[in-house]
Amino acid sequence: MRFLLRRLGFYLIAFWACITLNFFLPRLMPGDPVSRMFAQVQTQMRPDQIAALRQLFGLTNKPLWQQYLDYIGNIFRGNMGISLSRFPTPVSSVISSEIGWTLLLGATSLIIAVVLGNLLGIIAAWRRGKFLDSVFPPLLVFVGSFPYFWLAMAALYLFGIVLGWFPLNHAFTDGVEPSFSFSYVADVANHLVLPALTIVLVSIGGWMLGMRNTMIATTAEDYITMARAKGLRSGRIMFHYAARNAMLPSITAFGMSLGFVVGGALLTETVFAYPGIGYQLLNSVQALDYPLTQGIFLTITTAVLAANFLVDIIYVRLDPRVRVS
């Protein structure tokens, strides 16, 4: 319990740091990004909306500390301002309409990469120096060396344009009404294959190598020798004795990589024009839509913090040593 409270405190501080960063970034920038932004949208706004924006970006005469408190108050009421590029939609509804796609893409590719990567790592460590152990790691490291977006472009070119097996962009075919029918789900899945595949390809090597290295350390432990001496089946020792204990670092890495997936998805989403929030973040930056940029950044960070806290809770369940110390 003390461990969890400590972690919770840490995440709250991290959250506060992000809000503060978000608050000060536009105010500390050289030049005047805010007035550039205003210049392009002023004509289509109501005076009260302009006033709200001025407040959001500190163009009021209030002292800084009061602006800061106002800003934090707005965040906690879920008020992140109005998107300029999608005027007059509030930032929060732009985000909520798109975050589902990012979660779908991120969760699918992360789960496949983690399960497959760990499994490969376990087997590679168990059969040291054999085929899987000597061929796969260098191969996956080489594939992982390619830039994320480049691999995505290559996959798009090869499977999308040349072979025509998969659709080129978007999350579902234009004009199709979202519904819970089989054809819609199949359409979404079809659009998901290429983006997910590229993320899995790039990230799987790290999982495999990490698992392999902890697994090698674990197999040197005495209780493995003991299990062998008892004459247990090899498969049982591998999964129930060695892999279970070697899993812990992977679980921590899982929490950390959530951020990587959301971030990495940004590039993949851009290449495939996949309508997630990463793609939207880039669009908002290019359209000088600062309220949306800040809102998305805050959402992503909050999601990552929350997910990491969840991983911590699971970790306490899995590793009794954390509970004691």
Partner: protein, 312 residues
Amino acid sequence: MSISQSQRQTSTSGDTKTPPSAPRSIFSKVTGGGLAHGLLTNKKALFGLTILFLFVVLAVLAPVLMPGNPSNFTADVSAAPSADHWLGTTAKGQDVLALTLWGSRSSLSVGFAVGLIATFIGCLVGIASAYFGKVTDELLSLLTNIFLLIPGLPLLVVLAAFLPPGPATVVIVLVITGWAGSARVLRSQALSIRGKDFLASAIVTGEKTWRIMFLEIMPNMASIVMSTLLGCIIYGIGAQAGLEFLGLGDTSSVSWGTNLYWANNDGAMMTGDWWVLIPSGLAIALIAFALAMINYAVDEVTNPRLRAEKKD
């Protein structure tokens, strides 16, 4: 195992007889000279070092091999690789080989700059954290962990959006998002050295704090610093390419990232100009692979348990 035992013996017995700097020579035999020798006899390391060396030579010689501005247009537009243009030309008529060669200058220099600065900050924060302990450690660890947790690429995009574009911005932004990982690794390594006796004796003899941090602690974790540096350079090259591919870097310069950005913008994929896309991406992958290979070699040389068992 035997190494750490012998270290412990020499450092405890050395406390009274030898000056505090003596244990360093024993350590450096393990981490310094041994590392260089181990790397030069390691196949992975030799492979990586050769590729790295080739790239650096090509980058330095770019003005000799491909004189003139690489962005200049030639008469051939979207030409496939031929004797005139070994790697073909872009939709604007630029020579792809020239773009790739010149691009390596920006990509390598930004990558190495980011790697060096990020590792330096990581060393500073990590070692200070371990050395001073207590409140300093708590605060620095907190800062490190926050930066580790904030998703890197979105932060990169937001920072790049608000800062004025230019090469310096790219380096600064990449350092801000890249230093934390190295700080965490180096802190835990420095913590294990913090408790050693030779350090206590260095403090007692009144050595200056910065001397202890950089001349006593740092040389004793040379291999970790080295692999951190390699990791940071890989990160720097890849992240710069990503940032510039998104159009958030310095689009007026020639680098592997901007080459791919323009290729994508000019619709190289749709028109089937695959030769525009391949070289820059392959170059990034090769250099990252080479650095990763050196990194694994460092790991293997210093951690014998990771070496594949040799069949006799």
